[in-house]
Amino acid sequence: MSNSALDRPTFEAIEAYVLDRMSANERAVFEQRLTGDAVLRAEMELEQENIHAVELGGVTRMLKSIAAEEVASGKSTAQGNWKQYLKYAAVVAIILSGSLWLLRPSANERLFAEHFAADPGLPVTMSATHDHAFQDAMVSYKEGKYAEARNKWGPLLQAEPINDTLRYYVASASLADGDAAAAVPLFEGLAEEPISAFSDKSRWFLFLAYVKTGEVAKAKAISFDGDPTYAERVRAIKAEL
């Protein structure tokens, strides 16, 4: 392969071959030349790879763009095709506005929504066979499939009712699933077990569960004195109750 510049007609002939823009006849003739000309063959391989390099740049950009769209759509599905539904939405909004006023969430529910963020879950390390069911449920939990996670953990909790990890995550999945009533008894037990690694977080989520269900007196009764993580936030929320 020569180090001097490749002439333009040869460059463009190779290009047409690589991009499949030759007629069947032209292609057959060109392939004949390739068979007998090692230098041309080397030039063709080099040009093909350079074209692939350019295409790869575009494919990489496209993949990143699709990934970004996937992430965005996951967060804002409701924003899609809004124009399509605008006129219906306007009518529905007028009809429902009065009802919504009556059915608006209570101040407590708004406070809960403002401060609640589901526990992120545990890293999934599934080397032990007996852990498989637990970890499978944890994957569901981390994917935001809280009802599915509760269903998977349920039998495990029945088998091991004192397991604090199971109690905590069943309670967390219940609360994240909107079922504060199911979460409260589990969090109440854990909050009273200072030896448990989940004790502090359970007190916080129990507090929020009481806020959500309107049990203000019970919420206010939970002490967070000396708790460096939650004391400040709890004080602010209590001031609004």
Binding site: M1, N3, A5, L6, R8, F11, E12, L19, L46, E47, E49, N50, I51, H52, A53, V54, E55, L56, G57, G58, V59, T60, M62, L63, K64, I66, A67, E70, V71, P123, V124, T125, M126, S127, H132, Q135, D136, V139, K142, E143
Partner: protein, 204 residues
């Protein structure tokens, strides 16, 4: 050519994406860099990879990275005509992404992690042979050498498959100018590649 046997551990994903139901459709689409084909493959097969990575100490972001790398390997295999006619893109993407994630998990930074199923020994590593991986790195290095002006023209011509007249019209210049720019940019790449191969020969 690579052959991709059915993977019993690869679950079926119930997504209706009719455009990629047949190999001729999806591989032809990838060959011409068709965005709709890439999106369809992404929508249909990413959830399975995401599930595997999440199951093995990873995050959604990790899963995106693994899937994108696997898609790149699939794309280059199609471009180079390495696929057999009945190749299954879902199984291919799953195996490549899984092997890449296992490599990450086994790296020094992730030695504390454990994995559910490390059946890599049973996997067909030929799905992503090392030379493909190396070539992808090399191709990215070549692309990085292009300046903005060259990228603007070459991207449209080679990646987006626009004709010279369309590119010229959009850039407000004569068609012949675009043709010349394209030729000069490709000659720069050629010179760069020759310089690299010259250095390699000297080392050898």
């Amino acid at each position: 050519m690579l052959r991709f046997p059915a993977d019993p551990s690869f679950p079926t994903v119930e997504v209706t994406v009719t455009d990629i139901e047949t190999q001729s459709h999806w591989s032809a689409g990838l060959r011409r860099n068709d965005p709709a084909t890439v999106r369809a493959l992404y929508s249909k097969h990413f959830p399975t990879v995401r599930h595997y990575v999440l199951q093995n100490s990873g995050t959604s972001s990790d899963a995106q990275d693994m899937f994108q790398e696997a898609m790149t390997v699939l794309w280059l295999n199609v471009k180079e005509g390495r696929l057999v006619p009945d190749a299954d893109p879902g199984g291919f993407l799953y195996r490549v992404a899984k092997n890449k994630w296992l490599d990450v998990v086994r790296s020094a930074a992730h030695k504390h992690m454990k994995v559910v199923h490390d059946d890599r020994a049973l996997d067909h590593r030929t799905d992503a042979p090392d030379d493909i991986e190396e070539r992808i790195v090399r191709l990215r290095g070549v692309y990085d050498k292009l300046d903005d002006k060259c990228r603007a023209v070459l991207d449209q011509f080679y990646y987006e498959r626009k004709d010279l007249a369309t590119i010229a019209g959009e850039m407000g210049v004569e068609e012949e100018s675009i043709r010349t720019i394209k030729y000069r940019c490709m000659m720069k790449l050629r010179a760069f590649r020759k310089a690299i191969s010259g250095e390699e020969s000297e080392v050898i």
